[in-house]
């Protein structure tokens, strides 16, 4: 079975936040929740880099380990999903996650957190595929439709890759060999090189 994976090519990411918008709009993500975000480091300085991050769909995911109600589970293809009907909003997954992926919409009792919301790899949730419940709770199920996740599908520079880990790695490896990486990557110096 293929292992699903995200990979953000930092040489290509231009911090347009298109992935964030595509995910939020396409999945009708609750107010105050961003399943994906773009982080820019060394902003305005030499060596500026942007990377788009969301749930990493870890093997041996810490969130699954700490969840007191076992609401989080991992599919055979590595996608980590949450059952919003089981989740109690305790926030332990957010404390355990090394990537800050779990998000919590505001609930209505004393500011209690609502059920956890995170990147689903556009694979919906435990509910039946394409059911009304699934659509309402988790957004689109593009994996079941045979499409890539919204964020990577719309990425203008094709920086964000998503899919079978082996294929993603192949694509990335080919890129790195062709253009180099880090200081050797094509950029201004290549464009205005004098020789």
């Amino acid at each position: 079975m293929a292992r699903m994976r995200f990979l953000c090519d930092t040489e290509r990411c231009i911090d347009c936040s298109g992935c964030v918008v595509a995910c939020k709009e396409g999945n009708h993500v609750p107010v105050g929740v961003n399943r994906r975000r773009v982080i820019t480091m060394k902003q305005g300085e030499p060596g500026e880099k942007s990377i788009s991050v969301a749930c990493m769909h870890c093997s041996d995911a810490p969130c699954i380990a700490v969840c007191p109600v076992d609401a989080i589970y991992q599919r055979e293809d590595g996608i980590v999903l949450v059952s919003k009907k089981t989740c109690i909003g305790c926030g332990y997954c957010f404390m355990a996650c090394p990537f800050g992926a779990p998000q919590f919409p505001k609930g209505n009792v004393f500011g209690a957190r609502g059920a956890m919301d995170k990147c689903t790899f556009c694979a919906g949730g435990p509910e039946e595929n394409f059911s009304k419940d699934e659509k309402q709770l988790y957004g689109q199920n593009r994996i079941a439709e045979g499409k890539p996740p919204l964020c990577s599908a719309m990425c203008a520079t094709k920086a964000l890759l998503a899919g079978d880990a082996d294929i993603v790695a192949d694509v990335y490896r080919t890129r790195v060999f062709e253009r180099g990486s880090g200081v050797n990557a094509w950029g201004w110096s290549r464009a205005y090189k004098k020789d």
């Binding site: 480091m41 007191p68 109690i88 355990a96």
Partner: protein, 292 residues
């Protein structure tokens, strides 16, 4: 045999040379920059702002919550009642006559404060355990409700604990004879009615008082921060660990308190309802208490 060893050595030498030469050649090529953006330092810098230093408290919290906390809680709520059951069977309850003269121990205000605290604290413990063993109960709306009851009871108890503190604090400072009480475990291991070294409250009650009020304060504060994530993530992780560990102590103290009042001393529950304790019981269990 010699040829075999020789060829083995040759192969190893070839590999070693290839390895050294390989890394030397590979270094200046396309991969130079790669390590920079896929190194642990890079990711730690990248996510540091969101999740703090995961390798320290994040990992500790994940490990404790995943493997240890629920086991200890399960141990506390099973082993302690079993010990008490054995105590009840082997040594049995202490019995004091309620027909003789009685001494006022708790006035009406004290009793009201006690019972508000008792109700809210019991709810806190029960709902807390429901959350910890949420997976066993299937999670979902019932456990979500438990969380909401947990926060409401906490608000009630937090106010109540202030009154508890003010009412009882003057009698709760440790005294030298408390050490003796601890050594003989309050005389609960013998059937004899021998005067036990204790003032108005014994060492067990004193530790229960300090854990419930001061410890309750710590629980309230850490719980408030956990509830609202009102601090940076590393602090929230630390507070969650403190909340759980102190919770274990408080659950065991509540179990002890309930056993003592309901079973270990027959009829002692009456003193918190009527306010009076039998003179005989006070003379033995609180021998250093100078009542009027």
């Amino acid at each position: 045999m010699q040829r075999l060893i020789a060829s083995g050595v040759l192969v190893m030498v070839v590999y070693a040379v290839a390895l050294i030469a390989g890394t030397a050649i590979a270094a200046p090529t396309a991969f130079t920059g790669l390590a920079q953006y896929f190194s642990p330092q890079y990711y730690s810098e990248l996510y540091g702002g969101i999740t703090g230093n995961w390798q320290e408290l994040g990992q500790l919290f994940t490990h404790l919550q995943a493997t240890l906390f629920w086991k200890i809680f399960l141990g506390v709520i099973t082993i302690i009642p079993v010990i008490f059951l054995l105590h009840f069977i082997i040594i049995g309850a202490k019995k004091f006559s309620h027909d003789g003269p009685e001494i006022l121990f708790f006035n009406l205000f004290t009793r009201i404060i006690h019972w508000i605290g008792a109700l809210s604290f019991t709810l806190l413990v029960v709902t807390g355990l429901l959350i910890i063993f949420g997976a066993f109960f299937g999670g979902g709306p019932p456990i979500r409700l438990a969380r909401h009851i947990h926060i409401i009871s906490a608000m009630v108890f937090a106010v109540d604990a202030v009154f508890m503190f003010l009412i009882w604090v003057k009698d709760m400072f440790p005294a030298p004879y408390d050490i003796l009480w601890v050594f003989i475990l309050g005389g609960y291991l013998s059937k004899k009615k021998k005067p036990v070294p204790a003032g108005k409250y014994n060492a067990g009650q004193k530790s229960w008082f300090w854990l419930a009020t001061a410890g309750g304060g710590v629980m309230a504060y850490t719980g408030y921060i956990i509830w609202g994530m009102g601090a940076d993530l590393d602090t929230v992780r630390l507070y969650t660990i403190i909340h759980n560990v102190l919770g274990m102590v408080l659950v065991s103290m509540l179990l002890t308190h309930v056993y003592m009042s309901l079973f270990a001393i027959k009829g002692s529950l009456q003193s918190m309802i009527s306010g009076y304790k039998p003179k005989e019981e006070v003379d033995i269990l609180h021998s250093r208490y100078k009542y009027e």
